[in-house]
């Protein structure tokens, strides 16, 4: 005992304190969070706060402006040129339609991939391709396919006598151009849904299905009573991420239409870019990109609430 006491006495005080911190769960937890918080702070919080600050200033590119309150927001909301409100409407349409289709197709994809069939792993990997290919490359390829002069889709449609020559003007007519944007976004986003749902389905205990079958449940009943409820957490997280990312989608629509024809496919992200980067009004651009922030916050809060709610 005496030896032990002497040993403790010989250990420096700072070391004893450090050991005590390691022994306590809460301080250790916060300590371990510091690097992550640091990274998040540098790469997420700082740019976000800087963007918010820019949005309430009259900053130009390369010149930090002065505080103007909500002047940039007022400018866009009071603007009567129709482009801003058109972009808001288009952004909602684009996000809403693509999310519904991606959700539906993703579920179907996951259900099919969850079956046992030859080359299953190969097919699973292949289905992820649209998500893996760099966005700009795949959208350039789609642009080529939608091109009225060289469109492979039109060639097929015309040669199979489904449409008369020269086929639809995919990117030159407002409704078609918006449809093209939506199609390509669904093509690119559905695999993300599919693979995420598949991961969720694979951890559902099989005995639940066996019990349901014994009770005489049909496949549809198994899907609605077992698969969907068990998928709920993943489904909500995927839906949340996808909604946020689609609202802010820039690369694809920029490559495919850049808002043309005459702003009929204008989205908030592109409109913010046009003011902020080529137009140099970075403060106004930041304000446009943050316009939907309050609404997205409500969406995120709603989904998080649903996630935390017990069954």
């Amino acid at each position: 005992m005496g030896t032990a006491t002497r040993r403790v006495d010989s250990v420096p005080v700072w070391y004893q304190r450090r050991v005590r911190i390691y022994d306590r769960e809460a301080p250790l937890g916060y300590l371990l969070l510091v690097p992550t918080l640091g990274i998040l702070g540098i790469f997420l919080l700082y740019p976000f706060l800087f963007g918010m600050w820019l949005s309430v200033t009259d900053s130009e590119l390369g010149t930090l402006g002065k505080f103007i309150g909500l002047g940039n927001y007022r400018f866009e909301f009071r603007n009567t040129d129709g482009v801003f409100y058109g972009a808001v409407a288009n952004t909602f349409l684009y996000t809403g339609v693509t999310t519904v289709f991606k959700l539906g197709l993703g579920l179907v994809m996951a259900l099919l991939l969850n079956q046992v069939f030859p080359y299953r792993r190969f097919v699973r990997a292949a289905l992820l391709l649209p998500y893996i290919i760099p966005t700009v490359l795949s959208y350039e390829a789609w642009r080529w396919m939608f091109d009225p002069t060289f469109s492979v889709m039109n060639w097929l449609l015309v040669h199979t006598h489904l449409v008369p020559y020269p086929g639809p003007d995919w990117l030159g007519v407002p409704a078609n151009a918006m449809a093209a944007l939506i199609i390509v976004n669904i093509w690119r986003g559905a695999p993300f849904y599919g693979i995420s749902f598949l991961a969720g389905m694979q951890v559902i205990p099989l005995d639940l299905y066996e019990a349901a079958r014994v009770d005489g449940a049909s496949r549809w009943q198994q899907f609605t009573s077992i698969t969907l409820p068990m998928l709920r957490p993943i489904l909500l997280v995927v839906l949340l991420l996808s909604t946020i990312l689609t609202f802010a989608d820039f690369q694809g629509p920029f490559v495919l239409t850049n808002g043309a024809p005459y702003n009929s496919t204008q989205l908030l992200a592109i409109w913010a870019y046009q003011w902020g980067i080529p137009g140099g009004a970075i403060g106004l651009g930041a304000a446009i990109s943050l316009v939907l922030f309050p609404l997205l916050t409500v969406v995120v809060a709603g989904v998080l609430f649903l996630l935390r709610r017990p069954e």
Partner: protein, 452 residues
């Protein structure tokens, strides 16, 4: 000697007084004289020649030319100069539509290439990031003569040169002589009305005349601004403040365009800048407005339609002949640790012998921005290139007659003029003209009436 003493005693002679007063009165009455003469800091023997620093590194960012050989020659000249002066030089080429995002990122982060190619009104947008290069421009003026007014309008911001005039990419019509003959059109139309009359005949051959009215950063502007000006329309008055798009002249321009499209002139809102080139090379169209790259690539690379391709200058409208060309200039950026070396490099590249070597390789795609480059032999080497030389003089800038500014640059980058035409030309030229004009007006007002 005696005479000199006399002068010193009596102060100004009557002749001196009249000369000075005359110049002062003319300057007050016609400030453009100051602009066209190079301003108060005109080239003179006192200008200091920048010297390269041995061991310096210079990075230059500019677009990839549609004529690849021109870029190769440009790089060769850069490297040759770098080797001779112990300077490491790097050429960073990006596609035209990527140049502005890269430039904006550099400006915002206050770091990046030492020299950036400024397209159109970027010196107005990024004024604070561009060093004053008045000394270097004055050196060039003293050697090469007056700069082109359009390059000057873009480079000179509030009287200070923020970029060094670099080049003009003339835009003219490239057309297929065989299809025109087949259609019974013996020469390229000289007026917009003649063009509208020729359109149905060409369409009947299955190879229409076609152009973009979409968000193409080059071709949309070079097509629809000259049409607007040719009928007397303008986005804004010369004061750069009063929006003037809602006018009878604008409607005249749109009515012409609607008539032309109904006749068979094909517009493609989905086309970007490379698309009309590809359509021409793929034998899908009989004519389009473009830089000389279509003709040059036919001549150098493809050899399919060289003999049946010709070029023509811009048709005239009731209010005259107008053109819009791509205008590129070089800015030395404020963050450059070796700005003097960067300036020295640009001065070397702009030396007449060097420059003419480059334009020769560019084969008529580029025209020089100073008087000394007028009559460049490259435009004499092939009579078909003359059209591209002819469109330089009637060239204007987006927003003309207002001087380039942040506002005109914003109106340009939002494609307001092209969108107005595109909206009116929808559904085969039957779009709502009034709605198109009103929308353009309110968009322009949003820009020009916005504070700042």
């Amino acid at each position: 000697m005696t005479e000199g003493k006399k002068k010193a005693k009596s102060g100004w002679s009557r002749r001196d007084f009249l000369r000075t007063a005359g110049v002062a009165a003319a300057t007050i009455a016609f400030p453009e004289i100051i602009i066209s003469c190079g301003g108060p800091s005109g080239g003179g023997p006192t200008a200091a020649v920048p010297k390269p620093r041995k061991g310096a590194s210079i990075r230059l960012l500019q677009w990839n030319s549609f004529v690849k050989q021109a870029d190769a020659e440009f790089k060769r000249q850069m490297v040759e100069w770098g080797d001779a002066n112990g300077v490491t030089v790097a050429f960073e080429g990006v596609s035209g539509d990527q140049l502005q995002p890269k430039t904006a990122a550099a400006v915002e982060s206050n770091s990046g290439p030492d020299i950036i190619q400024m397209q159109y009104g970027w010196p107005q947008l990024y004024t604070e990031a561009c060093l004053d290069v008045s000394n270097e421009v004055n050196l060039l003026i003293s050697k090469l003569g007056k700069p082109d007014p359009v390059n000057e309008a873009f480079c000179r911001v509030n009287g200070t040169w923020r970029a060094i005039p670099y080049t003009i990419v003339p835009n003219a019509w490239t057309y297929r002589t065989d299809y025109f003959q087949q259609a019974g059109v013996t020469s390229f139309p000289k007026t917009w009305d003649e063009l509208a009359a020729a359109a149905p005949k060409l369409k009947a051959t299955g190879k229409p005349i076609a152009q973009t009215d979409g968000h193409a950063y080059g071709d949309s502007l070079t097509m629809w601004n000259p049409v607007l000006w040719g009928f007397g329309g303008k986005e804004v008055n010369a004061d750069g403040k009063t929006v003037a798009i809602n006018s009878k002249e604008t409607r005249d321009a749109i009515k012409w365009a609607q008539g032309a499209v109904k006749n068979g002139f094909v517009v493609h809102p989905e086309w970007l800048d490379p698309d009309n080139n590809q359509a021409y090379h793929a034998d899908r169209i009989s004519g389009t407005l473009n830089g000389a790259s279509i003709y040059i690539r036919e001549k150098i690379e493809f050899h399919k339609y060289t003999d049946v391709t010709n070029n023509a200058p811009m048709p005239s409208g009731p209010k005259g002949t107008f053109a819009m060309n791509l205008i590129f200039n070089h800015a030395v950026m404020k963050w450059s640790p070796d700005a003097e070396t960067a300036k020295a490099l640009i001065l070397h590249l702009m030396e007449k012998d060097q420059y003419l070597k480059w334009t020769t390789v560019a084969s008529g795609y580029n025209a020089g921005p100073f008087n000394a480059f007028h009559g460049d032999p490259v435009f004499r080497s092939d009579p078909k290139l003359k059209a591209f030389e002819d469109v330089v003089a009637p060239g204007k800038w987006p927003g003309w007659p207002a001087m380039p500014s942040k506002k005109t640059a914003q109106a340009q980058t939002q494609y307001i003029v092209a969108d107005m035409f595109a909206k009116a030309l929808a559904n085969g030229g039957t779009g709502d003209m009034e709605a198109a004009v009103k929308e353009a007006e309110s968009r322009l007002k949003a820009i020009f009436e916005r504070p700042g």
